[in-house]
Amino acid sequence: MKHIMTINKANLVQSAKKGGCGNCQASCQSACKTSCTVANQKCEKEAK
């Protein structure tokens, strides 16, 4: 494309179909105890 460059896989829909295993970290257990961000957590499905 000449006018647009897509910079990622845009795979949220696919992630829902295979997701929800619950192995990922609880958000507040990392470095935030007051301002929650979820999208900076890692998927840990492979870790199981």
Binding site: S30, V38, N40
Partner: protein, 468 residues
């Protein structure tokens, strides 16, 4: 739904429901004001008329076809596919715990949300036996979850270091029996660190959060010990020692809080980096607006500008090979958490609970001391499953402001405790936190876009996308 914004000379478009991030040129950025699904075969006449004074007709028509193609690929104006998953939201196994091993603290931080350590419930240390009950509770309620997270929190946890060690020892004994793996973390103000506790933390804790606000003057203004003296000179050498001795594969964060007193908080981040730390989190204070250090909506423009300055400095550092990680700009646009996780956020009160020294159970550390949200007690063997169900339903589709927000799959509805404390309802998003979160996300996505461009081969890296 899309969100488009301009930052750092780039035009960025986020397709909210697919998670697609598109770097676009100025023409595309403007054309998006005139188009929406369903896409017809031809570019709307209104768009052609409006844009043809600045752009060539053929470019407008070509650009429209590119947008149409992305729409057909379902990565632009894509549909929300997730509400059906939210409808099945149900109570989940409890996998994470904030263990308030100490409701006492030797510091008197002026912004402390824990009422200088005791959460308004009286200064006390958790007995080892209560800590063991907490471990038993987590093992029992975690069902099929393999990894269990337990954060030693306070107050200052090292004021009850012996109990920390005993609880870890007990959990390690029991994890094999239950086929679980505990991941311990600890949040400390650092004043009581010594060789013994550093060794223990570095061998047992998968993550350690080291509280320091940045520059000496910033830290010492808000983080004095009980006598009023600043703590920077006490804690910095101890934190440096801990990090130097820590396995590089294990996590740590130096973590600070910024307030109205240091709206130039990027300087505090840089100061921590200059001191030798490369894993840094500096967060906005959350408190009632009556306090002089409180952040208010009038501070949003200054904070936003500072986040942008910080983002650019991080890019500069990366180019110079001096990388450091800023927690709130961390984002993996390809392999972040799944959409299911993004619907329900931190999981407080459902997958995550906090335990006080008395064995009281709360949805998280931020709810401790709010009697209405006491979920039960370990010694009494009580646990309010109805409240757990209520928290299991606190997903983004039950939060009115989140439904139409572009950032909903990144913050996942924000902090339920902040919502309750400052908006009166766990489902009512805390406006100031939302605005700051959105700015951080814009910065984080911009950083990824710049890195993507800079990693392209020169002939691929069209200058068309850098517009300003």
């Amino acid at each position: 739904m899309i969100h488009k914004y301009e930052m750092n000379g780039l035009y960025l478009v986020l397709d909210v429901n697919s998670g697609g991030v598109h770097l676009v040129d100025k023409l595309t950025y403007q054309l998006l004001d005139y188009v929406q699904p369903p896409f017809s075969e031809k570019c709307p006449a209104e768009a052609v008329t409006a844009l043809s004074t600045d752009f060539a007709l053929q470019d407008i028509l070509d650009c429209y076809q590119e947008l149409k193609e992305l729409y057909e690929q379902k990565i632009l104006f894509s549909n929300d596919e997730y509400e059906k998953y939210a409808r099945f939201a149900a109570p989940a196994p409890i996998k994470a715990m904030c263990l308030h091993i100490s409701h006492d603290c030797n510091m008197r931080c002026k912004y402390c949300f824990a009422s200088t350590g005791d959460f308004g419930t009286g200064r006390k240390l958790m007995p080892v036996e209560t800590g063991k009950l907490a471990i038993d509770f987590l093992l029992k309620h975690s069902q099929d979850r393999k990894f269990l997270e337990l954060d030693f929190f306070g107050g200052e946890p090292l004021m009850n270091f012996n109990a920390v060690k005993e609880v870890v020892r007990y959990a390690r004994e029991r994890e094999t029996e239950y086929n679980k793996k505990f991941r311990f973390t600890i949040t400390t103000n650092g004043t009581l660190l010594n060789d013994d506790s550093i060794d223990f933390i570095n061998s047992e804790m998968s993550n350690v959060v080291l509280s320091i606000d940045g520059r000496k003057e910033t830290n010492d203004r808000m983080r004095p010990v009980t006598g009023g003296k600043g703590t920077y000179d006490i804690i910095l050498p101890k934190f440096k020692k801990l990090v130097e001795q820590r396995d590089k594969n294990l996590d740590y964060y130096v973590r600070g809080t910024f307030t109205k007193y240091n709206l130039d908080f990027a300087e505090d981040v840089f100061s921590l980096h200059d001191a030798g730390f490369d894993q840094i989190s500096v967060e906005p204070v959350v408190c009632e607006s009556k306090y002089p250090y409180a952040l208010t909506e009038e501070d949003i423009p200054a904070i936003s500008a500072e986040y942008e300055r910080l983002a650019n400095k991080i890019l500069e550092n990366d180019r110079a090979g001096k990388h450091f990680n800023f927690f709130h700009f961390m984002i993996d646009l390809d392999a972040g958490p799944c959409a299911i996780k993004r619907l329900k956020g931190c999981g407080c009160g459902n997958e995550y609970v906090a335990i006080t020294p008395d064995g009281d159970i709360y949805p998280c550390h931020q709810f401790v001391g709010i009697e209405k949200y006491k979920m039960g007690n370990l010694e009494e063997g009580t646990f309010n499953e109805d409240m757990k169900y209520e928290f299991s339903q606190s997903h983004i589709y039950h939060k009115p402001k989140c439904r139409d927000c572009w950032a909903k799959f990144y913050c996942s509805g924000g902090c339920n405790a902040n919502n309750y404390q400052y908006q009166g309802d766990i489902l009512e998003s805390h406006t100031l936190s939302c605005e700051l979160e959105k700015k951080r996300l814009e910065c984080a996505i911009m950083i990824q876009a710049v890195k993507k461009m800079e990693n392209l081969a020169p002939d691929e890296a069209s200058t068309a996308f850098r517009n300003c």
